[in-house]
């Protein structure tokens, strides 16, 4: 079980969190301007890298805040966490 540093509450067990998948996917401003294929890409396609991954977590059983994490998917080392809206480290 991971030990995840919530940017507010500090290190907590993974079971307090829910996973939110890949980070930094912006909802298209004008969905109608997108082709079906482009919309499907936004909807369904996610990166699954071996190595550095930017992902979202929610401290569901704690402060309820969403935040981003930079995690190595091989070693599971969480290299950084940062609040929503902050720059990627």
């Amino acid at each position: 079980m991971f030990l995840i540093p919530c940017p507010w509450c500090g290190e907590r067990d993974e079971e307090e969190f829910s996973y939110g998948g890949e980070a930094h996917i912006e909802r298209p401003k004008d969905p109608d301007a997108l082709s079906d294929a482009e919309w499907a890409d936004y909807l369904f396609m996610r990166k699954n890298p071996k190595g550095t991954h930017f992902e979202r977590w929610n401290h569901a059983h704690g402060c309820r805040r969403w935040f981003n994490a930079k995690r190595d998917t091989v070693t599971h080392v969480i290299e950084a966490v940062y609040k929503m809206g902050e720059e990627k480290p």
């Binding site: 507010w8 907590r12 079971e15 307090e16």
Partner: protein, 201 residues
């Protein structure tokens, strides 16, 4: 419950008052239901001085800004739940006036004030083995080096979401009322190896 015959705590039917004092004198665990305090949910931007200042004026003390801490006095406390979320705990019957006062003070500030008095009950856990019982179901590090009086945290205890507030004398466990019976039974079970004594508030 004499104050209002209609009100019922979620643990009312367990007959806890009748069972009080029956445990062994050397019980490692003392359990008490402390129902019917009033709870107010408060949302707002803690970093916004207009918000924090207005609230401080009404409460008479500043909201805790440091995560997982508690401020206030014996009869009025504010628990940090998130960077824009607090739980204010006041004696029974005091919520309406305070909600009105906060609402008035925050008229022009983006905020939310709402009554959640009946959402949770409070189980007070004390005794020499209190921390051992919590360790059976809660992943928080409650060692005095990291958690002590004036600390609060939300987490899970057994299979329920929990808000824990440590006071000078006990852990106050805020539990949503639909889970209260489950959690009470779990605490009695987990405490059995240390001996459980039930007490009245």
């Amino acid at each position: 419950m004499a104050h209002n015959p209609l009100r019922q705590s979620p643990l009312a039917h367990l007959g806890l008052i009748a069972r009080a004092g029956q445990g062994a004198d050397d019980a490692g665990i003392i359990l008490t239901e402390a129902p019917f305090t009033d709870h107010i949910g408060l949302r707002g931007d803690g970093a916004d001085t207009a918000f924090a200042g207005a609230v401080e004026k009404v409460l008479g003390f500043a909201l805790p800004i440091s995560p997982n801490t508690v401020t206030g006095k014996a009869k009025k406390t504010a628990l940090w739940l998130g960077p824009d979320e607090w739980l204010i705990v006041v004696p029974f019957g005091a919520a309406d006036k305070l909600i009105a006062a906060l609402g008035k003070a925050l008229t022009d500030v983006h905020s939310a004030v709402f009554d959640v008095s009946d959402s949770r009950t409070v189980i007070s856990l004390s005794g020499a083995n209190a921390r051992h019982v919590l360790a059976k179901g809660c992943g928080l590090d409650l060692h005095p080096r990291t958690f002590g009086p004036g600390s609060c945290a939300q987490s899970t205890l057994a299979l329920a979401h929990i808000l824990i507030h440590q006071t000078d004398t006990a852990y106050r466990l805020y539990i949503h009322r639909s889970f209260a019976e489950y959690l009470w039974a779990w605490l009695e079970d987990a405490g059995a190896e240390f001996g459980v004594s039930i007490s009245t508030p």
